[in-house]
């Protein structure tokens, strides 16, 4: 009864203010719960600060520069000069606007914001270490916890992220000048997006990839359109090589890559670089959380297994976003954040979206959702597909961007739409229509019979659906 050290408590503790965490916090607060959100860095997480938003800003900036400089065909002659520092501060302005917006949204929703690094002390207790020497720490008891600590880039041996000259994707979004020679290790979507940015800004970009394909995980005909376009922008690809080491020589970094399979390539290669970007993937941030103290289990890769309600093995602890497993997509994290908050509030929420769209913002863009033809067959579904090439789209022609296609996959028997792959202009936007159709249980005819605006790229979606039924107008079926 003697009041000594008062331990504060909260209904819901959210760790991490990225797109999973802040959405969870706001939704939980909307549902009348007392919510505390702990963030050790900037609000918005990797997405806003080191990922989606800054990279898309630079993609757009570099796109403008590149398009303006290559529009002779349209009768436009320009020789744009890029001041990268100005483009970077424009980008930083956007990031600042969005991160402060998140802080305001959280505050307005009544979320208690705490700055610091969280570490579990027990199943229901967390220690928050404040930043800065002598700032101390505090303990917080919680009824429920949502872990949304996200992920960080994977480092490879011999290539520490020290920014000089080795950088992670975060470093590559903050270059002060355009590197004359940029070597990118990894041809996944982060590597390919940044290859797009810097090749358009004038860097001499080389990409090393252990596998024999760019964008592993995407279908060959989708990935090859992006690879070919990148090659035309001047990107050099070295497939089947693994980055081994680097050394400094005459003020330049020289990277040595060794064949992944000696039967395929018999000699090492050396690449000179101003900057080396290592983009070989990301791993979940679960190792610094003291997660054992809470009794939460992780798998071999450090991911936290969760059920359809985003619950971990502990009834009262939830995990959302990158820490909860692949795919690492901001919108997946946000959706899971909502579900976790609603489950805590007693609502019958569950992660039961049927289609999770994904986009790659290369040139041209890729948008995918649901199953590929091959995956459908593996699932025992007899697939039927329909395609439409952007070459045949009036809108694509007038935009001078005719690479790529829309492909829709449906179950042959029921004609129900189960997936789509789009590569081409605005693929990231076009994919949303098909995601909605899959969610609603639509059939090919539902898309085909929906009147689409002319002249737009979305007509390609309608034509692809009609093609699957043998009824496309603007192509042979």
């Amino acid at each position: 009864m003697v009041v000594g050290d008062v331990t504060t408590s909260t209904d819901v503790l959210v760790i991490g203010a990225g797109p999973g965490g802040y959405v969870a916090a706001i939704r939980a607060a909307q549902l009348g719960l007392d919510v505390t959100l702990v963030e050790k860095g900037a609000y918005g997480g990797a997405c806003l600060n080191r990922g989606c938003i800054p990279s898309k800003a630079l993609l757009n900036g570099s796109d403008l520069a590149s398009e303006a400089g290559q529009a002779e065909e349209l009768g436009i002659y320009a020789d744009p000069t890029v001041a990268l520092d100005e483009m970077m501060s424009w980008k930083d302005g956007i990031v600042d606007q969005l991160t402060s917006g998140i802080e305001q949204l959280c505050t307005a929703a009544g979320v208690n914001l705490l700055k610091g690094t969280a570490e579990f002390a027990a199943e229901n207790k967390i220690r928050i270490v404040h930043q800065g020497e002598g700032q101390g720490s505090e303990s917080l008891k919680f009824d429920h916890c949502i872990i949304a600590t996200g992920s960080r880039p994977i480092e490879i041996p011999g290539f520490d992220f020290d920014d000089e000259p080795i950088v992670s994707s975060a470093g590559a979004l903050n270059f002060e000048t355009v590197p004359a020679e940029l070597v990118i290790v990894g041809a996944g979507y982060i590597g390919m997006e940044l290859a797009t940015v810097y090749s358009r800004l004038g860097s001499d970009v080389s990409v090393i990839e252990t596998l024999e394909q760019a964008l592993p995980g995407y279908q060959e005909d989708v990935a090859s359109i992006v690879r070919q376009r990148a090659a035309r922008l001047g990107v050099d690809f070295h497939f089947g090589y693994t980055a081994d080491s680097w050394a400094e020589s005459d003020g330049e970094a020289v990277l040595t890559a060794v064949p992944a399979d000696e039967a395929a390539h018999d000699s090492d290669i050396e690449l000179t670089a101003d900057k080396i970007l290592v983009a070989v993937g990301r791993r979940p941030v679960t190792d610094t959380l003291g997660i054992e103290a809470a009794g939460v289990e992780t798998d071999a890769q450090g991911f936290i297994p969760t059920d359809s309600r985003c619950r971990t093995n502990k009834e009262h602890i939830f995990a959302v976003g990158d820490v909860a497993g692949e795919p690492m997509l901001a919108h997946k994290g946000s959706k899971e954040g909502e579900v976790a908050a609603e489950v805590i509030a007693g609502e019958p929420a569950a992660v039961d979206y049927r289609a999770l769209p994904a986009a790659v913002f290369t040139d041209p863009e890729i948008g995918t959702v649901g199953l590929t033809e091959h995956e459908a067959a593996n699932e025992g579904i007899t697939p039927v597909t329909g395609e439409f090439q952007f070459q045949a789209s009036g809108r694509a022609l007038t935009a001078n961007r005719t690479e790529g296609f829309v492909r829709i996959v449906a179950a042959k028997e029921t004609e129900r739409v189960i997936g789509a792959q789009i590569v081409g202009p605005e693929a990231s936007e076009l994919i949303a229509e098909i995601a909605a159709m899959i969610e609603m249980g639509a059939k090919l005819q539902d898309i085909g019979s929906t009147v689409h605006t002319h002249p737009t790229l979305s007509e390609a979606v309608m034509e692809a659906a009609q093609n699957a039924r043998g009824k496309a107008i603007h192509r042979q079926n």
Binding site: P216, S308, A349
Partner: protein, 510 residues
């Protein structure tokens, strides 16, 4: 090659599980990690993944069966001898297709990134919009079970109709409840349990029904709703109900109602003879008191500090003064002394004479001393307030207290006369008992309960000698709001009260 697969330990140390549903049928090709069965343990419903790429040869357990961990539940034929292509099309196309019709699931991302997250990928082939799928969860219905019988698009009314007829719904709803917050649990339980036998009987609950005029007429006469009558027939794409169906349905309804009535009558007859008891409505003052007590008890963390005081001197003083008082027609009890003592103690301990203004997040310290006296009445507990006790003489306090407590018993106190107190005294001793835990009369932050004054042996020290003597002793139970007062505050305050009660002469100085 044939591979037997035993039910694995699907949870932490779970010994058995109920096999809810097979998600594959013999002949189905399966790939590694593809869910093959749903098993419910006492902890959760989990998907059991296939350990191999292969073809389902045999299912060894039935749906609904409880299987011990370690029992073989499924036999796979794995790539080898008689399956040249392993995972290729199974022998019986039709079986495989119909199996996949409802059970298939699809990863929602590029294949190599696929995680085994059961519900993310479940029921991909069930055609229903997200709002309908959510409704199904709210009603505790497994939407894929509806899809088993309705190959088309599942609508809101399909789900509602199924929820009303499905016996699974209650178990499913219970598992929902486990995941819900406590209050929500209560609501859900109420809503699922309130499904009466009549409602649970098979009804259709459609939005539109086609029927000929005569059928409609008969339905109206029989008092049945056409939309509730099950039918497989359709006309112009709409559900169609015949005259026969109406008669059948009406008959079934009547029978069912009769059965229900009989069952109710039987239960009533079987009941024990009623025990004598009576009921009075919980309303009025009783309810108001109840609400106030509950509110106080559960907002202010109550802590009760208990002590006793030797009031032998007070007993003497009172018996002396009582005569004096009676000449003024005033009955002098101990209460006015305690009230004066409390007022004096509050002046000495201003930290107790406060209230917490939660709305404005302020602690309000009062510089006036209005003391409430908890008074038992026929209607319940009322608390008349005597204002400015510090400024009034003992007899004045006595007179006003007597007058107000009397009117409280007569229920003629105005509400104003029960407001504005800064501290309350409750006298449990009048009836008996030593210690109690009084509930704070909010917005005050403390309340004192007085025990009976009893003669007890006490050690008395006089002229350096200790003797045991019979003394008059009263107990004090002080409950305080631990949000704003600490134990030390309560102890100090109680010490002050004791000081005045032990030596009532001090009150003369007040």
């Amino acid at each position: 090659m044939v591979r037997e697969f035993e039910l694995p330990d699907v949870g932490e140390g779970v010994a058995e599980g109920e096999l809810l549903r097979w998600r594959v049928a013999p002949g189905d090709a399966v790939s590694e990690d593809q869910p093959v069965a749903e098993v419910e343990t006492d902890k959760a419903v989990v998907d059991v993944p296939s350990p191999v790429d292969g073809v389902v040869e045999e299912l060894r357990a039935a749906e609904g069966e409880t299987v011990p961990v370690g029992d073989v539940i499924i036999v796979f034929r794995v790539e080898g001898e008689d399956e040249p292509d392993g995972t290729e099309t199974p022998a019986d196309d039709a079986t495989a297709d119909s199996g996949h019709q409802t059970d298939d699931e699809a990863p929602t991302q590029p294949a190599e990134e696929t995680q085994s997250e059961p519900a993310v990928t479940q029921h991909v082939q069930v055609a229903a919009s997200p709002s309908v799928r959510r409704l199904a969860r709210e009603l505790g219905v497994d939407i894929s079970s509806i899809a088993d019988s309705s190959p088309g698009r599942i609508t809101e009314s399909d789900v509602r109709a199924y929820a009303n007829t499905d016996s699974h719904s209650s178990t499913q709803a219970q598992s929902n409840q486990r995941t819900a917050a406590a209050k929500q649990q209560k609501q859900q339980a109420t809503s699922t349990q309130s499904v009466s036998p009549v409602q649970a009987r098979k009804t259709a609950d459609r939005e539109t029904t086609v029927a000929v005029p005569k059928t409609r007429h008969v339905a109206a006469e029989e008092g049945v709703d056409l939309d509730n009558i099950p039918t497989d027939e359709r006309k112009d794409g709409e559900p169609f109900v015949t005259l026969e169906a109406v008669r059948e349905y009406a008959e079934a309804q009547q029978q069912a109602q009769k059965k229900d009535q009989e069952a109710v009558a039987e239960r009533a007859a079987a009941d024990e003879p009623a025990r004598p008891e009576s009921r009075t409505p919980y309303n009025g003052i009783r309810q108001t008191i109840g609400a106030a007590m509950t509110e106080s008890k559960y907002t202010a963390p109550h802590v009760t500090h208990q002590d006793e005081v030797d009031v032998t001197a007070l007993v003497d003083a009172r018996s002396t003064l009582r005569q004096e008082a009676e000449e003024h027609d005033i009955r002098l009890t101990y209460m006015p002394f305690v009230m004066k003592a409390c007022a004096a103690a509050l002046q000495e301990n201003p930290q107790v004479n406060i209230s917490l203004d939660e709305a404005n997040e302020e602690i309000v310290e009062k510089e006036y001393y209005n003391i409430g006296v908890a008074t038992a009445t026929d209607a319940g507990l009322l608390v008349p307030v005597v204002e400015d006790v510090d400024a009034k003489g003992l007899l004045e306090v006595a007179s006003e207290t007597n007058e107000k407590t009397q009117r409280a018993r007569e229920r003629s106190l105005s509400p104003e006369e029960m407001r504005g107190g800064t501290f309350t005294i409750s006298n449990i001793g009048g009836i008996g008992g030593e210690y109690g835990t009084p509930i704070i009369n909010q917005p005050e932050s403390a309340i004192l309960a007085l025990g009976e004054i009893k003669k007890k042996p006490r050690v008395v020290e006089a002229d350096g000698e200790e003797t045991i003597e019979p003394r008059h002793v009263m107990t004090l139970s002080l409950s305080f709001d631990h949000r704003v007062l600490d134990g030390a505050d309560a102890a100090r305050f109680t010490n002050s009260i004791q000081k005045y009660l032990r030596n009532p002469n001090l009150l003369l100085l007040e």
